[in-house]
């Protein structure tokens, strides 16, 4: 357990930057696949923060949380991509701005 030489704070700040970039991706990209990828980026940023905090607290709980986030992400991706495939068949488009059947 040598000294890492880098403050935990920097890791967490980096994670915040990545998280925000993921958020921006979700909000701005119109391609549904890209939107999912941005969500993955957000989850990864959260993972980075968790690992950094786990380092700080020298505890295993953070690592386990990361493990579960990864697994859940895998499950989400499977369902999400299936949905995209389904909607592509119907609409021949995966532009999420084309999803506006409901108006009020």
């Amino acid at each position: 357990m040598g000294s890492s030489g880098v403050s935990i704070e920097l890791y967490v700040l980096l994670s915040a930057v990545l998280f925000i970039m993921g958020t921006i991706g979700v909000l701005l990209r119109r391609n549904a696949i890209l939107v999912f990828m941005s969500v993955e980026l957000m989850l990864n940023a959260a993972n980075l923060a968790l690992v950094a905090f786990a380092r700080q607290w020298a505890g295993g709980d953070g690592h386990l949380m990361v493990f579960f986030v990864m697994t859940v992400a895998a499950a989400e991706v499977a369902v999400g991509l299936a949905l995209i495939v389904a909607i592509f068949r119907t609409k021949k488009s995966i532009d999420i701005d084309n999803l506006h059947l409901f108006k009020e």
């Binding site: 993921g22 969500v39 786990a54 709980d61 949380m65 989400e76 949905l83 389904a86 999803l99």
Partner: protein
């Protein structure tokens, strides 16, 4: 802590109803392979048997007849089998039974009679049950996903119908987006406290509060983001926008179940996280928790927006979507009251009672919509209610009961729920928000009673098809709504035992 515990040390018995349901669902998947396509009613019957058995187990636990396991804590603190979780189990299992009953003929009619529907429903029910027993933020997250992902799939169950697909994709994208916030919030809370376990969290927060340590910033921002994730699930304003679109597009039988189950899960998690994990997060020497004001402001916004916008809706499903947003607001009042330590118990009970009342009423209302809906998903407008009383007097009477209950008229379950929630809010010094609650529920009378009006006092075709399972579901819901309204002590007696095992 330093040795790998034997599985029997985990006190897994305490989680028996949930474990049973999970195992049963897996088994059912295998058994279903051997059931021919044309005889899927067997699968439905088996699903109902499983849910009924789990309900029986939960009732035994709730009534203290049998004690499964040893004490409340199971799985090393991950699962908390206290009265609260028992009550959540019972509520969601009743909802699931009603959900299966309303789905069977509906799926038949829309030609989607697939047994996957029923397993997915079992899994999402399991998600809610675990959520209600969460003792750790990890469980909150995992159970939330186990609750949500099947619902995303079910929303899209009617593909290639565009509306269904679209609602599923919207729900999914926004759900994944908001669970990103949830995870980041959990990360920040973990960073501030070094733990995700509610008991340790409580201690750790106590220390931060006592020292007035500056890590409270991290903690508060983390708490806020966790609220975002859970607020999305319960459709609180301003995270509500998905609700009308999803409710309108998804198959109605899914919406009937989802509108209640997701709320039960979300509010159970809110009560757990805020009540048992962060109830002592008090700053500046105040008695109430720091998140209380946030929650009640959100509650006020939710009630006002939900009720006001519902007034101008012309589609029943959309109207009930806004109505469910409004009810999330009333429930959030109860959650806000949890933040005052002296009324935590009372508020948690109020939330549970409201959920029970809401479960019967709302599933019932959607069941009526299923009855009038055409096979091509049309005829869900308000017009479909015109003159229903003439053709279908019993159906119309049930719908009238549900509408009165949603309005909160005395002698219906909805009144009892509202009464307790408002009372807890008054006890927690949240008088303004109680006043807003009373005012907005007066406003809500307008659009609920308009439906009653259409049914009874206007001419129209008012067609409906009520096959036996649907009729059963509607009858159960009606009887439940009325029984709870007329004999509220049935509910309040049970509720009196409800406590959160941790959190004081």
């Amino acid at each position: 802590m330093f040795s790998v515990p034997d599985l029997s040390d985990l006190n897994a018995g305490a989680a028996l109803p949930a474990i049973f349901l999970g195992a049963y669902a897996c088994l059912l998947m295998i058994v279903d392979l051997f059931i021919p396509r044309t005889r899927k009613q067997i699968t439905v019957a088996l699903t109902l048997v499983g849910l009924g058995a789990a309900l029986a187990l939960s009732l035994l636990a709730l009534g203290d007849v049998v004690e499964f396991g040893d004490g409340a804590v199971a799985f090393g603190g991950m699962y908390v089998a206290d009265r609260f979780s028992d009550a959540v189990n019972v509520t969601v299992l009743i909802t699931a039974i009603l959900g299966v009953l309303v789905a069977y003929n509906y799926l038949e009619r829309i030609r989607r009679q697939r047994s996957e529907y029923y397993y997915l429903l079992l899994f999402t029910t399991l998600g809610v049950m675990v959520m209600g027993a969460a003792g750790d933020l990890v469980i909150v997250f995992v159970a939330l996903e186990l609750l949500s992902i099947p619902l995303y799939i079910l929303s899209g169950f009617r593909w290639p119908q565009e509306a269904s697909e679209e609602s599923a994709l919207k729900y999914f994208i926004l759900g994944a987006f908001s669970s990103g916030f949830l995870v980041y919030g959990i990360a920040l809370v973990y960073g501030a406290t070094g733990t995700t376990d509610f008991r340790a969290l409580w201690q750790s927060i106590g220390q931060i509060v006592a020292d007035d340590a500056s890590s409270k910033y991290l903690l508060l921002v983390g708490t806020g983001l966790v609220l975002v994730g859970l607020g999305f699930k319960v459709a609180a304003v301003p995270f509500h926008m998905w609700t009308p679109d999803v409710y309108q597009g998804a198959p109605t039988s899914v919406v009937a179940y989802m509108s209640v189950a997701a709320k039960i899960g979300g509010f159970a998690a809110l009560a757990r996280v805020l009540g048992a994990g962060m109830g002592n997060l008090t700053l500046g020497g105040e008695a109430a928790a720091a998140w209380q004001s946030t929650v009640w402001i959100i509650a006020a916004l939710t009630m006002i927006l939900g009720n006001v916008v519902a007034i101008v809706q012309s589609d029943l499903k959309r109207l009930l979507a806004y109505s469910s947003i409004a009810h999330a607001g009333y429930l959030l009042i109860g959650v806000a009251a949890v933040g005052t330590p002296a009324v935590t118990d009372e508020a948690v009970r109020a939330v549970v009672m409201y959920l029970v009342a809401y479960a019967f009423t709302n599933v019932g209302a959607f069941a009526v919509i299923i009855a009038v809906e055409k096979d091509d998903a049309s005829n869900t407008g308000l017009d479909s209610m015109r003159g229903l009383a003439a053709r279908q007097p019993l159906l119309a009477a049930s719908m009238a009961v549900f509408m009165l209950s949603l309005t909160g008229i005395p002698l219906t379950a909805g009144f009892v729920g509202k009464w307790f929630v408002f009372k807890s809010a008054v006890a927690a010094d949240l008088i303004p928000v109680a006043v807003i609650g009373v005012l907005t529920s007066l406003v809500s009378a307008y659009y609920y009673l308009r439906i009653v009006w259409y049914m009874y006092f206007e001419q129209g075709k008012g067609e409906a098809y009520v096959p036996a399972p649907l009729a059963w579901a509607i009858s159960i819901a009606t009887v439940g709504t009325l029984a709870l309204g007329i004999f509220p002590y049935l509910l309040s007696d049970l509720a009196n035992g409800i406590t959160l095992a941790f959190g004081r």
